[in-house]
């Protein structure tokens, strides 16, 4: 049991969780504040007979993991802001070709080279819309090391379940902070394995023909079924086509498979929401400060609660509406200029009740920052 208890950085937690989920191939390019993911992978993967590759850039990294996923491996890459920008074309490819993979973005302050060592949560909308064209995406996040572990495993599970890339949107604070982690026992968290086709050799296998439940069993490159994979619109064999019917069907499928399964994907935590008149909504590192404020105010009898989002995309509109039904005020705590605030405003019937409590100067938002903002709109002054 002793070695199950760790006191490590969030980036290392992510590595341990990925291995727990069955990862055995990683390709990446160093960038602060995600570099420790690559460093730990370089050490841990060969120990289990897996492969670590340091590629020439982030474009190559995302492409390499897609290639490795096709031979039947669970794969991941990790990066931060600028590298995440470079990965967008490859991410779009993985969406279109339906290749399971996990892309970690340990966010830093942006745009551009921005604040390499400063925290920020400014890539939330890029995670949603960085890829060109209509598409759906899954993006998950976490505020504690135990949750980083769980959400990383969840990311791999969702990637396999829906044959899609999944983004893990962590941040500098979580990535670099040291905190306690108890590594779950084998089997304690469910691990979803790849669904492979049961079609026999010699029988026509259609890699892009969804089953009745919408899932698409895969076949590893190198095994008996040979097929084409492309980023062009394609038919059930994976062959390029511009047939309007097929194009329409595929675009719908790519979007619906996420939208229709939002419940399976969605993860959140709630604190004191039952009677809360002021609901804080937060995620990632910001949620730590938000929780601190809530607990502090509760002790003084104020009716504050926290909804912590662990899955940002698809956005849980219904959940937010339901949890905020009794709230007089909704305060979104995030380290950007209101990227999730916009979604929250769309989720509730009275968007004017939604306010933003943020910090965008590369300094971690503290409980005091949040309290000051609360005092302001409660008319108490700072």
């Amino acid at each position: 049991m002793g070695n199950q208890l760790k006191f490590i950085q969030g980036n290392e937690v992510c590595v341990e969780a990925a291995l727990y989920a069955g990862l055995d191939f990683y390709a990446g390019y160093p960038i602060t504040p995600s570099t420790e993911v690559a460093e730990h992978m370089a050490k841990r993967l060969p120990q289990i007979g897996g492969k670590f590759l340091q590629m020439e850039d982030e474009i190559a990294s995302v492409c390499a993991i897609v290639g490795a996923s096709l031979t039947g491996h669970k794969v991941m890459t990790a990066t931060s802001g600028p590298g995440f920008s470079l990965m967008q074309e490859g991410l779009g490819y993985a969406i279109m070709a339906e290749i399971p993979c996990v892309i970690v973005n340990v966010q830093r302050g942006g745009p551009s080279t921005g604040l390499p060592t400063g925290p920020g949560q400014g890539d939330v909308l890029q995670a949603r819309w960085g890829v060109h064209g209509d598409h759906s995406i899954i993006a998950l996040t976490a505020s504690t090391h135990q949750d980083v572990f769980e959400m990383t495993v969840h990311a791999f599970n969702m990637a396999e379940m829906f044959r899609t890339p999944v983004i893990l949107l962590f941040d500098e604070v979580i990535g670099h902070m040291r905190e306690k982690l108890i590594i779950p026992e084998e089997g304690e968290i469910q691990v979803v394995d790849r669904l492979r086709t049961s079609v026999k050799a010699g029988v026509d296998y259609h890699p892009y023909l969804p089953r009745e439940d919408g899932r698409l069993p895969m076949s590893d490159f190198g095994s008996e079924h040979r097929y084409n994979v492309t980023g062009l619109f394609h038919d059930m064999w994976g062959f390029p086509t511009g047939n309007p019917g097929v194009v329409h069907e595929l675009l719908r499928h790519l979007n619906d498979k996420i939208k229709n399964n939002a419940e399976t994907i969605t993860r959140y935590k709630e604190y004191y929401l039952e009677d809360a008149r002021t609901v804080l909504i937060s995620y990632g590192c910001s949620a730590r400060s938000a929780l601190h404020v809530v607990e502090n105010r509760r002790a003084r009898g104020e009716r504050l609660g926290l909804l912590e989002l662990q899955s940002l995309w698809p956005f849980p509109y219904g959940l937010v509406e339901e949890k905020c039904a009794m709230a007089r005020q909704i305060v979104v705590v995030e380290m950007n200029m209101g990227q999730i605030t916009r979604a929250v405003k769309r989720a509730v019937p009275e968007p004017e009740r939604v306010v933003l409590a943020n910090r965008i100067d590369g300094v971690f938002i503290t409980p005091t920052d949040i309290k000051n903002i609360l005092r302001l709109f409660q008319g108490k002054g700072v």
Binding site: F25, A27, A60, S61, V66, Y93, F221, G222
Partner: protein, 268 residues
């Protein structure tokens, strides 16, 4: 197996223009695979974007048609994760050396066992005839209406300098030589590059008044010569054909196996 057993007839006719050299490359490639006697299941073809890259759709291997310029990066993932597969990567000259130039030199530097086939038609065919890094000074293209001022580089020299351990050049006129080179390149245990001069009569040929496909191939015959030939000494403007490099150097996947062994404290 007959050559036609290696193609996906369902997806023919192909999209190439009449006279395009890419079809000749396909033919030579399939003959090479036939000579190798490999099972179709052991071969993965990874390509990028361009007329040349469409070759992967027509062959009955595991085929991965990727992004413009990124084929070698995807291929690196395929090969590293399953080294027993034979990975063949056909690319256009723009695909391999403009947008994909960085991946090209780094794949060569690693000496990872895969075969890069650079189908060099000196133009961007798929997008309608813009100049490529191989077009050459003075050429005509839609984006060089007053004559190109970009110099080209020598793919074989570049591959060699970057660390490729098998480097050869041929043309669509020399189809038999092409087959032999592709066969040897696939057998080679390291990063192999075969540059194939191939005609794009539709854009490069027409704009530069080089005649039809047959005339362009005739040009390959008259303007190329075996490496180190006397003809080259007499006429340095001739393009050399043949194998420039063929040497042994530890292969990347094999080297990584040693990393695994070390990481496990000596037990593989």
């Amino acid at each position: 197996m007959a050559v036609k057993d290696y193609i996906r007839e369902r997806f023919f006719p192909h999209l190439w223009c009449p006279g395009c050299g890419h079809g000749i490359v396909l033919n030579s490639l399939l003959r090479a695979v036939e000579q190798l006697g490999m099972s179709k299941n052991e071969i993965v073809m990874v390509s990028g974007i361009g007329c040349s890259s469409r070759i992967s759709g027509y062959v009955d291997f595991h085929t991965l048609h990727t992004l413009h310029g990124r084929a070698l990066a995807f291929a690196t993932g395929v090969k590293m994760s399953k080294p027993e597969l034979n990975v063949i990567v056909p690319m256009g000259d723009g695909d391999a050396l403009a947008i994909g130039g960085n991946h090209f030199i780094h794949a060569a530097r690693r000496n990872i066992a895969m075969t890069a086939l650079v189908m060099n038609n000196r133009i961007y065919g798929m997008t309608g005839g813009q100049y490529s890094p191989l077009s050459g000074y003075g050429c005509q293209a839609t984006t060089s209406p007053f004559g190109n001022i970009d110099y080209s580089f020598d793919i074989a020299e570049l591959a060699k300098a970057a660390g490729a351990t098998y480097v050869a050049r041929t043309t669509t006129y020399h189809a038999k030589q092409m087959t032999e080179m592709i066969r040897d390149a696939v057998l080679h245990d390291g990063f192999s590059v075969v540059e194939i001069l191939t005609q794009c009569p539709t854009y490069y040929g027409r704009r530069n008044r080089l005649g039809d496909a047959a005339e362009m191939m005739d040009w390959y015959k008259s303007h190329t010569t075996p490496i180190g030939s006397k003809a080259k000494e007499e006429n340095p403007s001739l393009i050399e054909r043949g194998v420039f490099v063929q040497r042994d150097k530890p292969e990347y996947c094999t080297e990584y196996d040693k990393v695994i062994e070390k990481a496990r404290g000596g037990q593989a």
